[in-house]
């Protein structure tokens, strides 16, 4: 395990741990027996990548609410039952000189022997664009807290590959089939298509208005389409098919497939994505 993967593993470990959710959406982040609830609080903040408002509530009564984004504490927006919150509450963005006051507040809130809960909600004041505030890691350093506490467990290693077959295996599997076979297999829900390159270069079906639109697009963007397909393939030139739509299960969707050097670009209607899935599966049979 190296320093680069440590934060990611810590985050995965934390997110996959058992959690207790209370009525109202509160999540318990520290139990009464936890020895360092401040560490739990900081880890919860550190795991919040997207802009959120986090309300931390102690079972002893005090609570404070922080706007958090990208592992930074942007601002303190509310405090209940905690003395000395005024300086932080008055700031639009938390500054370095406020870190000591904030740490005191966190320590007063997250005391051992009390349960600590967090409620996450939309951020209050458009903080998603704010890139300043106090880094959670800075506060953790000052409190000697390890944010990446992953314990002794090592991650389970793979049993199989996700999507990177050996290229020769893929070629063998698809041998004898063409992109036109794929189009035929999809059936009438493939309302328009054309192919470019390879043995099926220049084939098309469907209303001319739609086909010509697809043709114009490929005339301009053929190389970029190949590049996009390569980025989704384990190896350049591998067979791959992308379907892209608002929902894929209704309305119209795009289908773009590559097989043996031929690119097919087409339009699928309605729930035709299932037919395309079956047709692609058929190529592998």
């Amino acid at each position: 395990m190296n320093n680069t993967t440590l934060p990611i593993l810590a985050r995965l470990s934390s997110l996959q741990a058992d959690i207790r959710v209370l009525p109202g959406g509160a999540r318990v982040i520290a139990e009464a027996h936890d020895r360092n609830p401040v560490a739990r609080l900081l880890r919860a903040a550190n795991e919040t990548m997207l802009a959120r408002s986090l309300e931390f509530v102690s079972s002893a009564g005090p609570a404070l609410t922080l706007d958090v984004a990208g592992r930074r504490l942007l601002r303190l927006t509310a405090s209940h039952g905690l003395a000395g919150a005024e300086s932080c509450l008055g700031s639009e963005v938390l500054e370095d000189e406020q870190k000591d006051d904030l740490i005191k507040l966190l320590q007063a809130l997250a005391v051992p022997g009390k349960e600590l809960r967090v409620i996450s909600g939309p951020i209050g004041r458009g903080g998603a664009e704010v890139s300043v505030g106090l880094p959670v890691a800075l506060l953790a350093d000052l409190l000697l807290i390890d944010l990446n506490d992953v314990g002794a467990e090592e991650p389970e290693h793979e049993a199989g590959d996700v999507a990177s077959p050996a290229p020769d295996r893929a070629a063998i599997r698809f041998s004898g089939r063409s992109i036109a076979d794929f189009a035929t297999g999809i059936g009438p829900v493939l309302v328009a298509w054309l192919s470019r390159g390879g043995q099926d270069d220049g084939r098309s079906e469907g209303p001319e208005e739609m086909v010509s639109h697809l043709r114009d697009f490929l005339d301009d963007e053929h190389a970029a389409v190949i590049g996009q397909l390569d980025l989704m393939s384990a190896q350049e030139g591998d067979p791959v098919c992308l379907m892209l739509g608002v929902t894929l299960i209704d309305g119209h969707s795009l289908v773009c497939a590559r097989l043996h050097g031929t690119v097919l670009l087409g339009v699928i209607e309605g729930g035709g994505s299932q037919a395309a899935l079956s047709a692609w599966r058929g190529l592998m049979a």
Binding site: S120, E158, V162, L242, M243, G245
Partner: protein
């Protein structure tokens, strides 16, 4: 229901979903995952990159111009079916799934849409 629990319930309901992962596309990170498939961090990184690529140009722009902004993508390769779903309200939030080719899209997509929006709005 927490993130891990939500993802786990999808895997239980759809055994053909071998991996369901919640990703922040803006930071290129898979934040949580569930499923019987054992994957390394490198696989998760690749899955997240494939999701970003799916919703990228030039095909993204073609889809926007023709049918509206796409929120769902399926990438099929020689061995796998990867399904990516972006949140309607938080475009950086996405679910990335690896499925068996026999997955029933008409049943699966609405359920993962629900799950994604629940995670996005529940924080």
């Amino acid at each position: 229901m927490g993130v891990a629990e939500s993802l786990g319930s999808m895997v239980k309901a759809f055994p053909q979903a071998r991996l369901v992962a919640f990703a922040d596309l803006s930071s290129r990170m898979i934040l949580a995952s569930a499923g019987p498939m054992s994957v390394t961090q490198e696989h998760l990184d690749r899955l997240c990159n494939a999701a970003r690529t799916s919703f990228d140009d030039p095909l993204f722009s073609l889809s926007v111009g023709a049918f509206g902004e796409p929120h769902c993508a399926v990438v099929m390769g020689p061995d796998s079916v990867r399904l990516f779903l972006r949140s309607d309200t938080e475009p950086a939030d996405a679910l990335c799934c690896i499925c068996d080719p026999g997955i029933d899209l008409a049943a699966f997509v609405p359920k993962i849409r629900e799950t994604l929006e629940s995670i996005t709005h529940g924080g």
